[in-house]
């Protein structure tokens, strides 16, 4: 029986349990519903929970655990001469037996008989069915594969039976407990509370998953490359060594990537902060409600546009524009029409990322500026200051901590941005200061290392996780500090 059919059966049993629980509660009330502690529906749900929940848990545990048991039984059944040849050979043979096992299911009885008594070559027989085999199969493999198949089959039947029995037993047990004074609602609500708790712990689990998975993969990377050469290396050159070439090891220096990331983020902030901040000041202090009602949502459209669209914009419009205009400028000044800005450059990526960040800066600072109490403004205006003086000398200093928090949040977004830099910043890992040249970022290299054919154990792919955890750590610090500032600031004026 397939898993989905078992699940369906459990659900049907649960549904039946619900109705019988409800009917039993009704019956035990002797026609007077007010005699019941809980509504009949709660009794029904109570019974249904008893039938579905344990069965589902057992099903899940069985599905996860049984492959391990079956595999270890198979491992034990391999002949001595295979297991004595070391772990690698054993794994290889194991994989072969499993593909034989898959292939055997496709054979009909005649072919199966021929294969079992060895009169037909196993490899040819399975190859004809579209199951490729790495080497010539041996007879013990057929036997092992057959055992493996039977074990899997048996496990599946046992699982179906056990799960069904548990579902029915749970329902019967719960049904027997139902009576008029039974507090079914309280029990059901306790289960619901448990479910709510589980749902909210998924947020924690995600963080644990992020840190755990990246840390473990990064540690595997640091087994082959020492952390000091990674964190302080100045050359990024992760060569993919050809198999068996003796492995000229690539160089994994983080610094050029980090420099590019911070440089591009800096250019982006240089563009986004003045524009966003002035837009926020104008909208919160000067604009009439009509203007604000139009301009604010329009600017926020910029935040809703997917970053891949910004990347395309950089690639198609901004990059070529900067390249051509630099060639023209150069031509006017020196007579030599050669562009000094590359199409893919720090400047291109920075400007386009800056455009993306404008709405973040403006709406975050807008919120913070409007939170500054009216009384501060009135005091300043009453003393004869102009509006701009009030803003510069009173409102902004009062809002400064909050704005710094907002800017840090924006910076964390700039550091973690991927699609714009993938398309606009280039892939050359260099350490230099010219904003007109291409540089690359941590996120670009994560994408580069993990797309394409990958062999998962090489440092070339594992380095992506080391880069990822570095990125995560940077943004985590920025975020936590920013959230702390923003929260503290909010409390100040509440």
């Amino acid at each position: 029986m397939s898993t989905s059919i078992i699940l369906l059966i459990i659900l049907i049993v649960g549904l039946a349990a619900y109705f019988s629980g409800r009917a039993r509660a009704m019956a035990s009330s002797n026609g007077k519903l007010s005699a019941l502690h809980s509504l009949p529906g709660y009794h029904g749900v109570y019974v249904a929970i008893w039938s579905v929940l344990p069965a589902a848990v057992v099903l899940a545990v069985w599905l996860i655990a049984s492959p391990f048991f079956v595999e270890s039984a198979l491992r034990a059944s391999l002949p001595q001469e295979v297991t004595s040849q070391g772990a690698a050979t054993t794994e290889l043979t194991l994989g072969q037996v499993m593909s034989v096992a898959n292939g055997l299911k496709l054979l009909n009885t005649d072919e199966l008989a021929a294969v079992t008594n060895g009169s037909v070559n196993l490899r040819d027989a399975l190859g004809a069915k579209g199951v490729p085999l790495a080497g010539d199969g041996e007879l013990y493999m057929v036997k092992a594969a057959q055992d493996y198949n039977t074990m899997k089959e048996n496990s599946r039947w046992a699982m179906s039976a056990v799960v069904l029995v548990i579902a029915i037993a749970g329902a019967v047990f719960a049904l027997r407990g139902i009576s008029a004074p039974f507090r079914a609602r309280n029990r059901v609500e306790r289960v619901m509370l448990g479910a709510l708790l589980v749902a909210s712990s998924i947020a924690i689990l995600t963080t644990v998953g992020i840190i755990g998975s990246m840390l473990s993969e990064a540690l595997r990377f640091f087994n082959s490359v020492s952390p000091s050469t990674f964190f302080f290396g100045t050359v990024w050159d992760p060569r993919f060594s050809a198999a068996g070439s003796g492995g000229t090891e690539g160089q994994f220096g983080l610094l050029p990537l980090l420099a590019g990331t911070l440089y591009i983020a800096f250019v982006a902030m240089l563009f986004a902060v003045p524009v966003g901040l002035f837009a926020a000041i104008y909208m919160s202090e000067y604009a009439k409600p009509v203007v604000r009602g139009i301009a604010k949502p329009l600017l926020e459209i910029l935040a809703g546009i997917p970053t891949i669209v910004y990347g395309f914009f950089a690639l198609i419009t901004v990059g070529p524009f900067l390249r051509d205009i630099s060639a023209q400028l150069n031509g006017l000044v020196t007579g030599n029409y050669v562009n000094f800005i590359q199409a893919q450059s720090v400047l291109t990526a920075g400007i386009v990322m800056g455009i993306m960040l404008i709405p973040f800066v403006s709406s975050l600072s807008d919120d913070i500026i409007t939170q500054v109490p009216r009384s501060l403004r009135d005091g300043s205006l009453g003393l004869g200051a102009t509006r701009s003086e009030t803003i510069k000398k009173v409102v902004l200093p009062a809002a400064l901590p909050g704005i710094v928090g907002a800017l840090l949040l924006t910076a964390s977004r700039a550091v973690g941005e991927t699609m714009i830099v993938v398309l606009a910043a280039g892939v050359a890992a260099r350490m230099q200061l010219n904003p007109f040249e291409a540089m690359t970022t941590v996120t670009v290299k994560i994408v580069n290392q993990l797309t394409g054919d990958l062999e998962f154990n090489s440092p070339q792919t594992l380095v992506a996780f080391a880069l990822g955890i570095t990125l995560f750590a940077i943004t985590l610090c920025l975020n936590i500090y920013a959230l702390y500032i923003v929260r503290k600031y909010r409390e100040q004026y509440e």
Binding site: L196, S213, S388, A464
Partner: protein, 440 residues
Amino acid sequence: MTDMTSSVQSAYVRPAQARRDIGIKRRYAAERRFRAYGVAAILTGLFFLFLLLWTVVSNGYTAFQQTAITLPIEFSEKIIDPKNERADNPAKLMTANYPLLVRDALVKALAIDPSNRALVKQATDMVSASARTQLRDIVIANPAVIGTTVDVALLAEGNIDSANKGQIDLKVAEANRKVKDQQLAWMKTLTETGAMAKQFNTGLFTYGASSRPEAAGIGVAALGSLYMMLIVLALALPIGVCASIYLEEFAPKNRLTDLIEVNINNLAAVPSIVYGLLGLSVFINFAGMPRSAALVGGLVLTLMTLPTIIIATRAALKAVPPSIRSAALGLGASKMQTIFHHVLPLAMPGVLTGTIIGLAHALGETAPLLLIGMVAFVVDFPGSPMEPSTALPVQIYMWANEAERAFVERTSGAIMVLLIFLVVMNLGAILLRRRFERRW
């Protein structure tokens, strides 16, 4: 007397003039400048918004049209099935020489000497290589067509399509140009006879990935995106709502709750690419799920969307006034009943608004999908979320890396489709909020 008054007046006026000189003008000028900076900042933002949209639309609106060449194709039995084997061996029809049919039709329509190989080659290059499968599908669907002549609208090759739309610079020397002068002349005659015409590009919405722009479409990618959105909706909405209810209504004020809160706020700001690394390492390497599958993409996007939904839901729950809760509790409802029967329904518009905005965000997300192998060349529609598929923004990314002019046009067209989806979703969220928002 008059002397005195005048001296008093002058004594009174002089300091007033001195006071006026302390810089009111300068201060007002500074005020006007400051205001102008604000206006300039907003206009800069709006300018870039319109430039961005204009870039996409001006490059992309032509993608919704495609040049087709309608030719009378003679389904000659001599070419398709010379030995008359199709009754015994239907596979023969799959491998027949269909390009030859196209060639013959072109030679006839353009009156070319069939022995002039170079000329014939130039002519056949005008028709997309996908004509082969197109004719094959016609024959296989209806074998009776063999032996007759039928008008078939064949897709023009990508560069011919671009030239027909006026996107290829004809001033460039012929040798450096993808479209030759002879082909341009033929295009003119074909257009005059009505054989070559632009039609609505249905292929853009129905085809999958292809290395030939004229046969590439976003249909397959859109289906992958749809699968992922359904998974995100089915998982993130219930989990997000449950988590918010717990945190907002039940959670005791202690360290653990604080930790969860900080955590959720922080997760909302984690770079999306980190979620891709999580998906690759946990779902694919550890749990052994298939690469490139919409299922994994959906799970990753679910984790990414959850914080957004939780934050929106908590705000919506907070906005329901305590009087509702007190009334329900006072009438004897349990806490769980109060929340599920009264508070949650009242908060639902806010919850759905947050969910739609989260979904819109997930729909446009690209970076995590690149890491879990969805940068795949997927030609066929995935039958289930377990099969290899790709997503709309990933398709845009892959096309953006192609050099041909026809792909630029298609990239922009695909972006327009994506943006239309996003606009519709956001408008839906706004309307929902307008329609059901309550002021207490």
